[in-house]
């Protein structure tokens, strides 16, 4: 089509005008396809994971990780193979830097879920390396993802924050889109909650990989 319109254009006169019109139509179609492609891309990016179950309103006493009385607690649930979680961890790193002025530093945890039947090297990869390199973060393995399920998390990158009194302050994601770094409502809500201000929201959507296989999730 492009070649034909060019041949018509080279023909001169009326052919040239027709060729130009065809060429401009090709360019317009291409521009629409490009804009449509970008819209498709953003639709995917802005589609959150499966709706989480309700998180415990207070930190479970028999939880896999202990909560220290008088200290807030932040935990991020991750899928060790999820590439999107890189953005969540990078945002966690930035978020923690905003805790510096807090009178009491929160306990920080990142869990790596291991689905039933996963291989021995399932947790190896960028998520483990990235999480381990964040100052003050304790990384632990969640066999079978049972602890994540207990917290109501269904999507990698889910963050839960409990206050010094053990009450749930925040449950949700800290990225504004899937695998997308940058400011987010979740981060601002967590900072406000920990500094004692009224947060804009207590929950945000979580963008990332599903923690459980479709068949398991049902």
């Amino acid at each position: 089509m492009l070649r034909r319109s060019l041949a018509a254009w080279r023909g001169g006169g009326r052919g040239k005008a027709r060729g130009n019109a065809t060429l401009i139509a090709v360019i317009a179609l291409w521009a629409v396809a490009v804009v449509g492609g970008e819209a498709w891309m953003w639709r995917y990016q802005l589609t959150p994971g499966a709706a989480p179950a309700a998180a415990p309103r207070t930190w479970p006493r028999d939880a896999a990780v202990p909560a220290h009385p008088g200290k807030p607690l932040l935990i991020m649930v991750t899928h060790p193979q999820c590439a999107c979680t890189r953005a969540s961890l990078n945002e966690l790193r930035r978020l923690i830097a905003r805790f510096e002025a807090l009178p009491v530093q929160p306990d920080l945890y990142v869990s790596l879920i291991v689905p039933p039947g996963a291989g021995a090297n399932w947790i190896d990869g960028p998520v483990l390396r990235n999480a381990s390199s964040i100052r003050g973060v304790h990384v632990f393995v969640d066999p079978g993802g049972s602890f994540a399920a207990r917290l109501g998390a269904t999507t990698s990158g889910h963050v839960l924050v409990y206050g010094a009194n053990g009450a749930l302050l925040f449950s949700g994601g800290i990225t504004s889109a899937r695998a997308h770094e940058g400011d987010s409502i979740g981060q601002n809500a967590i900072v406000r909650a920990l500094y004692g201000a009224k947060p804009s929201t207590g929950t945000t959507p979580v963008f990332g990989c599903g923690l459980r296989s479709p068949a398991v999730r049902g």
């Binding site: 590439a83 504004s176 987010s184 990989c209």
Partner: protein, 234 residues
């Protein structure tokens, strides 16, 4: 040698015509040179986009189930689409005014795609400013206008409908849009000034070439020695 008024007028006309044709030739050569650069850039960006997608996020996971990530499809299909028309026009319609505007639009959309593929990294936003500098190679300020309008429209529409995708928050003020657009306009203003200076310089060179050639032609015709005075460079 003294020239009669008619010969002098003919010589002046010849110099003006020669200046215009030499200037147009210089500009066109720059345009073709810029397009050759963009030909390789379009191919390189496509390969780079695929490389980033395949190395950074090859798969999306659901528990133990994995499938090829949408990032990979975006890099291959959308990236291929973004580069395909500019490459076709560079090969089939080199130097056409529409070719450079298609390239400007494509280049800005490439910035959006690369920002997406690298997970919204702040550093990738510099691709926008690098692209504007590359587009300035055309020495055509109108190309920069196309790129600026594309950036502004992209930010404005996304800010209107999906503000989280640009600013990270749903309630970003209109001033965030103005701030982003302001930096782009700042760079474009500097580049446009540079283009204006460079085109003036190019025209002066074309004038010098035209004068030298016109006098040389005249000298050859009369076969008499004639003083040639080069105009002083401003």
């Amino acid at each position: 040698m003294n020239l009669d008024p008619a010969s002098l007028s003919a010589l002046a006309d010849r110099i003006v015509q020669k200046t215009e044709s030499t200037y147009a030739d210089f500009v066109q050569r720059w345009v073709l040179r810029a397009e050759r650069m963009f030909l390789w850039l379009m191919v390189a960006q496509w390969l780079f986009g695929i490389f980033i997608a395949v190395t950074v996020s090859p798969y999306a996971w659901e528990g133990k189930t994995r499938h090829v990530s949408n990032h990979v499809w975006a890099a291959v299909v959308l990236g291929g689409l973004l580069s395909a028309l500019p490459i076709a026009l560079i090969i089939l319609r080199p130097g056409w005014v529409g070719t450079r505007h298609v390239i400007a639009f494509s280049q800005v959309m490439w910035s959006a795609l690369l920002i997406h593929l690298t997970g919204g990294r702040i550093e990738t936003h510099f691709h926008v400013f690098g692209s504007l500098a590359f587009l300035a190679f055309y020495r055509d300020w109108k190309v920069l206008v196309t790129a600026t309008v594309t950036v502004a429209a992209d930010h404005f529409l996304r800010g209107l409908f999906i503000p989280e995708s640009v600013y990270g928050v749903a309630d970003a003020s209109i001033w965030r849009f103005a701030e982003h657009a302001g930096w782009v306009v700042f760079e474009v203003a500097v580049l446009a000034y540079g283009i204006w200076l460079s085109l003036n310089e190019l025209r002066r060179i074309a004038e010098n070439v035209a004068q030298v050639e016109a006098f040389a032609e005249r000298e050859a015709l009369t076969a008499a020695p004639m003083p040639v005075t080069m105009p002083a460079m401003a």
